[in-house]
Symmetry: C2
């Protein structure tokens, strides 16, 4: 078949059914557009199938396993044996299937046509989708959304072999805990994996290429993550550019991701990478790009927000991606969360002075560090380490978006005894009138 | 000694060293007042010594115990035996001692004079403190703060005997799990105790006098709490006004609290109860009242905010208690949290549609229910059931205080996958454009 024969005209074509693509599809369909979504594997993308969701399920499982040990000194009995990872894998698959089924059902209900296959451009408004070994379909679109996500960056020390040396996604599928594990990388994915498997009993070494773990995070958070990982049993090595993979049963690589664009044959459509879309997520009049193919942190919630904006714009709404606050979270020991700036009028409150933390075994090493735009100014950053930090950051993100000041945070009643009180206490520190720590000059 | 002899003149006298009193003391001292604090037991009051803190420590311990069972289907091994409650009691006492020591140290550092004893008025500006069996001291104050808290209301069915039939505080001190337990009451304290002991292996019946548990909460939250308690093994009985205490090893009563005022001999100072202080927490020019002696919900965080305001006003600051949002939280199964109004433009998002909840064993029964002041209006209420709800309510309280609308919540990026996303999704429901549930007309 020649390109151009039997082409189906479509309204909006979305390439990639991850959290960016499926959200854009649902939103555009809500607003009356006719949407065709091309996905080469399963909808939900990397995040839902082999990233955010299963990694958090593993982290949560490992955290429960560890919490029993943490409470041993309070009278908690020990666990009767090792974790049954084969059973865990069944539960993981079931959870992923539930979520994929949910997204499929939402897409169906919204009358989004899902086409299974790999897409490539064959013209400015035409895409060819390889739907089977010998089967292709052609689509002529009015608007197209590029949402193909990313591929893992390989390690110079050893190539991916799909078995012993693997990308992070594969490490979520093991049906037993490896005896020994080398984690190459220092990003949140590397930290989560290292801590989870150490908690479950593996001998874990972590080789972070930079001078600290979580190099994109506030330095205090890096230090907290490194202390926590070490306490969880991880042998943390920084500046580890030439670690040997020998002597480990498994090696997992997490050195970041790069946009997955090659298969798209962008040249055929005259589209140039890299993508830095405008606030409407356009890179050209009828071409949108969202998620991990765009410049910026590769995070599902960023992709989802971009997908909502792209869907709005496709539906004729006046919408823009102008989030001031982009939170990042790490499900490790302790939980870590960050949003916004690290420099400014800084106030810190240690969880060692917080009632709710003192009754939580081993939780007192955490802290809330808030950053204000000058004394009396609005919150511009927050950096949290400790239990529930991954959820507590939501209040901080809202505070930044709403322009809340330290006074606003301090005058909002926070329930007692909760971890959320740490933000109130830090706000009082910023105002020079702390209650549960001694008043002292504010740092920086 | 006759009243009037050898009286010490003091500047600010605070009667009661609980979360209201000690916070007022610290704040007033920060602002230059000379403060004397009278406490009959230990500083920190009921909350810190025998209420909020130890009850949450018990709830948290029981939650860890229960989480192992909840994750059994995912491959979590069983616990090797029953909980060691004697060890738990040591840990509880240690945590309380840490916190009491912290407050004592803060008071000392702030140069607050702490007097140990029971206070009563002997004149308009004079108080007598019984500091020992045969010892009294007299103080003449410029300003006085009444912060003596409350006493538990007894049950008509059986008097407190300090052993088998007890108030809630005593039930936190047991060094073994009772075989059978009757909890009389339906407030958050009753719910927390019933669920904790059921989780730890007691046969628990709960006799709630009203037609539902948590009668002061949103009805959906009452229903969630009742389902959760039942699943935790509690035999929940409502409209249970004439339950028999017979046949239970232990009986714990939680039927509310009444202001603890008798010992104060208010008549000698011409002070009249009940107390409904003004926004500056005054009930008279030089008389302040804060915490559980005042009309309203008896909650530590309310007392602390009132204490901050009273301390500010005593220190000459223009301060007022005008919180729009007063959160209430319950550490049970599930966690429950509420703030603000229950009626208005209501939007609901079920945790069954939330990725983070699907990977958390048995967490999908929860929900986020948001209430807006009309379509497009600001948030005026939030009602959460599910993991971490007690901390997630902080974002909702801030949203209410800041006048945030559904649009503001929906346009704030919430990290994925977190429980905090439920509020974002509910905000999208309110806007008629949900992503992860099918669009449908908004209820009410």
């Amino acid at each position: 078949m020649v390109a151009g024969d039997q082409s189906d005209p479509v309204d909006v074509l979305i390439i990639g059914g991850g959290p960016g693509g499926y959200v854009a599809a649902l939103r555009a369909a809500q607003l009356g557009r006719s949407v065709t979504l091309v996905e080469r594997k399963r909808v939900g993308g990397l995040c839902l199938n082999e990233g955010c969701i299963p990694s958090k399920q593993l982290a949560r499982f490992a955290a429960v396993f560890a919490s029993v040990k943490a409470f041993a000194g309070e009278g908690m009995p020990a666990l009767a044996g090792p974790p049954d990872m084969a059973a865990f894998q069944k539960a993981r698959a079931a959870a992923v299937n539930t979520l994929v089924g949910g997204v499929e059902s939402l897409l169906k209900s919204a009358k989004v046509t899902v086409v299974s296959g790999e897409a490539r451009f064959v013209g400015r408004t035409r895409v060819c989708v390889q739907t089977g070994e010998d089967a292709v379909r052609f689509f002529d679109f009015k608007d197209v959304v590029l949402a193909t996500g990313g591929d893992p960056i390989p390690w110079a020390g050893a190539p991916f072999d799909g078995e012993r040396v693997v990308e992070a996604s594969r490490a979520l599928e093991w049906d037993r805990v490896p005896e020994s594990l080398l984690v190459v990388g220092g990003d949140y994915i590397a930290v989560e994996l290292a801590v989870a498997y150490a908690r479950l009993g593996a001998r874990v070494a972590m080789a972070a290429p930079g001078e600290r773990m979580l190099p994109a995070f506030d330095t205090d958070l890096s230090a907290a993550a490194q202390r926590g990982a070490t306490q969880a049993g991880v042998d943390v090595r920084v500046n580890a550019q030439s670690e040997s993979p020998d002597g480990y049963e498994r090696v997992v690589i997490s050195l970041g991701r790069e946009p997955r664009l090659t298969a798209l044959d962008l040249g055929a459509a005259g589209i140039r990478a890299p993508f830095s879309p405008d606030a409407q997520m356009r890179i050209d009049r009828h071409v949108f790009a969202i998620g991990d193919v765009t410049a910026g942190v590769p995070l599902a919630h960023r992709a989802m927000m971009q997908g909502r904006v792209a869907g709005d714009v496709l539906g004729g709404k006046n919408s823009a991606f102008d989030s001031r606050a982009m939170p990042q979270v790490v499900f490790a020991e302790p939980e870590i969360a960050t949003v916004g700036a690290g420099e400014g009028h800084v106030a810190r409150f240690p969880l060692a002075a917080l009632g709710r933390a003192i009754i939580e075994a081993k939780a007192t090493a955490g802290f809330a560090k808030l950053v204000f735009d000058g004394e009396g100014g609005p919150l511009i950053g927050a950096h949290l380490a400790g239990p529930r930090a991954t959820d507590l950051i939501a209040e901080m993100a809202l505070a930044i978006e709403m322009g809340a000041t330290a006074e606003d945070l301090a005058l909002t009643v926070h329930a007692h005894p909760t971890f959320a009180e740490a933000a109130l206490e830090a706000a009082e520190v910023a105002l020079g009138r702390p209650i549960h720590v001694r008043p002292k000059p504010v740092a920086r």
